[in-house]
């Protein structure tokens, strides 16, 4: 489902596998505990308010 180096949001994996969010989160947590997958947490508040990141997003969005 997730080919390197990209990844997928938990919600996207859950939706594609037709598994509800909470059991999917538990399942992925188990896999992460066993070192079978890597999990990248959501960006922190300081990152989501980084003006450079926001400007990059804005510029890219304007071109889609």
């Amino acid at each position: 489902m997730c080919s390197s180096p990209g990844g997928l949001a938990v919600a996207e994996i859950a939706a594609r596998m037709h598994i509800r969010l909470t059991p999917m989160t538990l399942l992925l947590g188990e896999l992460a505990d066993r070192g079978l997958i890597e999990h990248r947490p959501p960006l922190e508040g300081t990152e989501t308010t980084n003006v450079h990141l926001l400007m990059r997003i804005r510029d890219n969005l304007a071109r889609i």
Binding site: E12, L21, T22, R40, I57, D59
Partner: protein
């Protein structure tokens, strides 16, 4: 703090919420800009709390399944994957779902001017949680009998400078415009915070 041109190792996921009452056109808006067909993720809620799964043989009370439709836009140059999450249509449930806000940049509150009250809960929710949002009024059948100022007044927005967009949720240009407006607001706030 990373600078403008600092490359990220891998794409970071970011999230924008598309909120508003039942039937205002959230999924349509998501579908219009998403690079994938909207996906649906579900969560089962009981009256006792959020995300409790019933085990075999144990009866659960008032179990409801809420669904969120979401889409994705890969922004390669920004090295970001933007997810657009449509909040569940049943207002009385998603208030409990603070996880929705986790890492969200901001929101678009979509309103149907024929049923403005359906979007009041979304406005209250974001104002109380301090999540920045812009308002978009979906023009059904090309009609929009109200001006942006009339909509702004009717919504009793705390921030009088909240952008109000009149759009057609099926128009890619309109949808992108609302997203850009949100980003512009976030950039202004981030810039003010940095220099304030």
């Amino acid at each position: 703090m990373p600078g403008y041109d600092t490359p990220a190792q891998e794409a970071d996921p970011v999230k924008i919420l598309i909120a508003g009452g039942f039937g205002v056109g959230k999924t349509t808006l998501v579908e219009t800009v998403s690079e994938i067909e909207p996906l649906r993720t579900e969560e089962r809620l009981t009256s006792a709390g959020v995300g409790v799964d019933d085990l075999d043989g144990i009866e659960s009370k008032a179990v409801t399944t809420v669904a969120m439709d979401f889409g994705r836009i890969t922004l390669t140059d920004a090295q970001v994957v933007l997810y657009l999450f449509g909040t569940p249509g049943q207002e009385r449930f998603w208030f409990m779902w603070d996880d929705l806000l986790n890492g969200a940049l901001g929101a678009i509150v979509l309103v149907d001017t024929r049923r403005l009250d359906r979007s009041f809960p979304a406005v209250d929710f974001f104002e109380n949680r301090g999540l920045p949002f812009v308002v978009a009024a979906n023009c059904f059948h090309g009609e929009q009998p109200y001006t942006a100022e009339e909509i702004r007044a009717a919504l009793h927005l705390r921030d009088p400078n909240t952008p109000i967009h009149l759009l057609d949720a099926r128009s890619r240009d309109d949808a992108r415009g609302a997203l850009l407006s949100l980003l512009d607001m976030l950039i202004t706030k981030a810039g003010a915070a940095a220099t304030g």
